[in-house]
Point group: C2
Chain length 107, copies 2
DNA sequence: TCTATATTTCTATATATGTCGAACTATAGT
DNA sequence: ACTATAGTTCGACATATATAGAAATATAGA
């Protein structure tokens, strides 16, 4: 189990990635596991391409790319090219780590 | 229930506060609900004074004060003067909010 | 009141970050 | 090969941040 002591820097980097409102919005968009109204059977995050993710954020493509790179480097977002597009998604494992991080410790 | 949409900026500020390794260490020290070996009955975070929190971090008192102020302004840390000291602690409510933030949404 | 301890505020400075536009790379379709 | 679309890299710049030291404030105790 990934505890804080072994991952100080890693957690700090993840929180840094989430500290920018634009990046947080991107992350949040990736968190919705299925289209509204439907219900996912698996706890699987959905995939979005870069352009879709940036919609409504009113930032330049270069800025969008920069922010997704930051999220990727922090280990929060997976990225893979698929033809003309680059797909982005979250690993549920990382979300669980983060969720667990905020439970009060009984060391 | 405090959802993301109503608290975008607030969450970003909390993550920003946690994005610095020194602040993250301070936060983590506050997370231990009781002294090692013991077991807490209540889910109550412990109180530490500013000086105690800074031990082992090797930062100047002014820097320590600055960081705790950031954590406080982000709403993560409560502070109250008690005589010569200033006591710091976490609100379990905020920890729960953050823990919940990382669960996959079924919007 | 004087002193020691705890903490904060102020000021300065080096470094990091967010942002964009221009140029570039990758891919698909004609 | 040419063109359009998707996305990235690079360079520049304005702003934000981490840090420390010096000075100030708060409190307890002699």
């Amino acid at each position: 189990m990934s505890n804080y002591s072994d991952n100080k820097e890693r957690f700090a980097k993840m929180f840094h990635a989430l500290s920018n409102p634009h990046r947080l919005a991107l992350f949040h968009r990736l968190q919705t596991c299925c289209t509204p109204g439907t219900r996912c059977s698996t706890e699987q995050a959905e995939r979005f391409c870069v352009g879709e993710l940036g919609k409504g954020l009113h930032i330049a493509p270069s800025t969008l790319s920069h922010h997704l790179k930051e999220l990727h480097r922090a280990g929060l977002v997976k990225m893979e090219r698929s033809g003309k597009y680059v797909e982005c998604w979250l690993e549920p494992k990382v979300l669980n780590e983060l969720s667990h991080f905020f439970t009060i410790k009984n060391e």
